[in-house]
Every structure is written in C-alpha cells, then in structure tokens.
Symmetry: C2
Subunit: 230 residues, 2 copies
C-alpha cells in the first residue's frame, strides 16, 4: 500500500489507531480470547491485533505470563459477590461465591491453569479474597484459621477449573488405562480400585464439587490451627 493511501485510510476508513496502553492491550487480549481461544492470546497475535510489533507490548507488560494474569483478573469482574451481603446460611453463601468463581474459570479453563501458576493479584482477585474472608468472619471463624482456609478454598476451586482443561471427548486415554487395569486386576493387583469401579468416575461435576466444598467447610470448622510454639 502506498504511503499516501495509507495516510488517507488511517484518517477516514478506520478508527484512528489508538495509543497503546496497558488496558488497551488487556482488552485486546480478552477480545482475542473470546474470538479464538486463549491459546491464540500470544504476544505476536496481540501485536497484530493492535497493529504494532510484538516488541512494543513489552513496554506495558513484563511478559506473557503477566498478561494472562491480567486477563484473568479482568474476567474475575464477572464473579457474583452478592451472596456476601445476602441473608441466610453462611455455608450456602460461601459456596455460592466459590461456585460463581469456578463458573467463570470454566468459561475458559486454560485460564484456571495459568491461575494456579501465577497467582493473580489484581483488584478483582482482591475483591474475591475479601468477599470470602468476610463470610468466614461472619461465620465466626478466627482470623488465623480464616487466613489459611481461604487459600485452601480458592486452591480447590482453581484446581477444579484447571482439571477441566482437557475435558476433550477422547476416549483413547481412558481406554489405555482401563486396559492396564484389567490386566493387573487379573493378577490380583488393585483390589480396591476394582471394588469401587465406576464409582470412581460417578456423579456430575456439579455434585462432586458441591460435595468437595462441603468437605472443606466441615473440615475447616473441625480443624483449629494449633497455637504456634512459644
């Protein structure tokens, strides 16, 4: 394209190229993720989207991991924190917030994956943390216990989200491990796995996760932190 034509285009045919900002980059990343999936959110692809070179992004973002963390924080705006101030059983309300968080992660499971590695630290994540701590406080759980409990709760939710990444419909992997199992079972190994059988894979994801959160809440109530040695 000739220089003159280009100058005309930039003024009339399309919006003026917006100045590069950190927020603009994150917004573009969210757009690309919704359009083409998270694995297309690369420095190069984003740079193309913003009509610049990949190197330019490094002025606003330390590296690709930080960018993904920022994208997650952006998405965390969708978590429903309203149960914190609602009426009713605190367990139900805490569970509701955690399920909402998990729901957001499940929109883009690969994000959960990166959330386990790079702990998010943006404002929305802090909002979520504050919300959970607030409910635990309402429940009368002491601060020291709550501090560790919130970590465990978020870890469980995040890990559950991350596991759903490869929720592909590929029966091959299951088959091969089943073969191993059948062979070994004949040899008398793995009696417990055989006894449980399909029970190991039973239940919907929702039922399992609801049970898991119940386990956690009951466990947290039942497990004080011992006093530190003096």
């Amino acid at each position: 394209m000739a220089n003159t034509e280009r100058a005309i285009r930039s003024r009339r045919d399309r919006p003026a190229k917006p100045a590069l900002t950190r927020q603009g980059i994150v917004d573009a990343a969210v757009r690309v993720m919704h359009a083409d999936g998270l694995d297309k959110v690369t420095m190069r692809r984003l740079a193309a989207e913003l009509d610049t070179g990949a190197a330019s992004l490094y002025v606003y973002v330390r590296d690709a991991a930080e960018l993904r963390a920022a994208v997650l924080d952006e998405l965390l705006a969708e978590v429903d924190l309203s149960p914190v101030a609602a009426e009713g059983d605190w367990r139900v309300r805490l569970s509701a917030v955690l399920r909402s968080y998990l729901g957001v992660l499940l929109t883009y499971p690969p994000l959960a994956h990166s959330a386990l590695l790079t702990r998010p630290s943006g404002p929305r994540y802090l909002d979520l943390l504050e919300a959970l701590l607030s409910v635990l406080h309402q429940a009368g759980i002491d601060d020291r216990r709550a501090a560790w409990a919130v970590d465990l709760l978020l870890q469980t939710a995040t890990a559950t989200g991350a596991e759903h990444v490869s929720g592909s419909d590929d029966p091959q992997d299951g088959r091969s491990s089943l073969d191993t199992l059948v062979e070994a079972a004949t040899a008398g190994r793995y009696p417990r796995i055989i006894a449980l059988g399909a029970e190991l894979f039973s239940g919907t994801g929702e039922d399992r996760v609801a049970w898991a959160f119940s386990v956690l809440l009951n466990g947290i109530l039942a497990t004080p932190r011992t006093d530190p040695p003096t």
Copy 2:
C-alpha cells in the same frame, strides 16, 4: 563426517545406537529432565539425545503431553507407599503417603502442573490410587465416599505441588499487589484482608499442607454422600 568414519564410530567409539522403544524414550526424558530441567524435555531435544529426528518419536508416543505424563508416572515410583501396611493411626499413614507424593512433585514442580491437566494413568499412579483407597477402606469409610475423597485428596496434593512452580524469588509481583492493597485500604476497601495482614502468608509450606490435609480428612469424615435420588 564421512560415511565410512561414521560406520567405524558406531561400532567402536560409542555404544551401538539402541533401538528406539517407548521405554527408551521415557528414560531419555527422565535423564534430560534431571540434567536440564523439564522445559528442556521437548520432542526435538529428546530426538537429539536419542540421535534421531523428532518425527521418529511419534511412532511410540502420541504427543508431547503423553510423554510428560509418562515421565511423571516414572517418577511416581519413588512415592513411599509403605505406610499403607504399617501400624498406627490411619490419618497419620494417609497423610504420610500424600506428603510423599507431594515431595516427589516438588522435586520437579512443573510436572505437578502437567499432572493437573493430563491425569496420569500409568501403573505407578494406579498403585498410588490403590494405596490411598486401601487406607480409606481400613478407616471404615464407605466406598462411595472413598471414591470421591481420593480424588479430592490427590487434587489438593497435586495443586499444592503445581503452585510451587513459580516459587521464584521475584519480589516484584508481590510488591505491586501490595501497592494496590495499600491504596485501596486507605479508601476503606478490603478491611478483612488488612485485618489479617501477614497472617495470609504465614507459616511454612509444611505447616500449611499438614493443616490442609487435616481439614480434608476431618471434612471427609464429617461429610457423607447423600443417597442418590430414586
């Protein structure tokens, strides 16, 4: 190198190039991982190690993810399952097996990361599963509950391992989230986070993980699975 020289070398100066096998590939992967770290365990690097082309590996391994899963399963041989048959409190013994598993993951934390995505399904993983189910059975926990419990226990251990991936000593990230925090605190946001303060990051990894496993075990004991609707 001339063809003749090459022929001589292969007979005399170095061990004969071993035939490619799946196990040989996995062994090479473990070697490379110990020598240069998991992120050097790539199809190309492995091929070079085995004196062949990357394409050749695809005869024995579906893709890179399957290879990493196989490497993890190999490492799982080091998990100490002896507490299963030992004397004493089942909680202590279950916890010991889980800690041993976590210990192996922490030798190469990036492996834990990939374990969350691609559920391992090799023989050592099945051994671990059987071991945990066996202790839960000894504890008198019913089968349906044990089936879900073992999943939650392994998920927690694996996620804990995965989180330690970026255990780098980079204070920058913590700093920036702390800044956000201080600003927002002035505005009266995040009262609970402020109240807890350093408590959120307190304790050694070992203490936290011991507490987490206690929470899980207490929670599992306190949380039956409701009967399925008829």
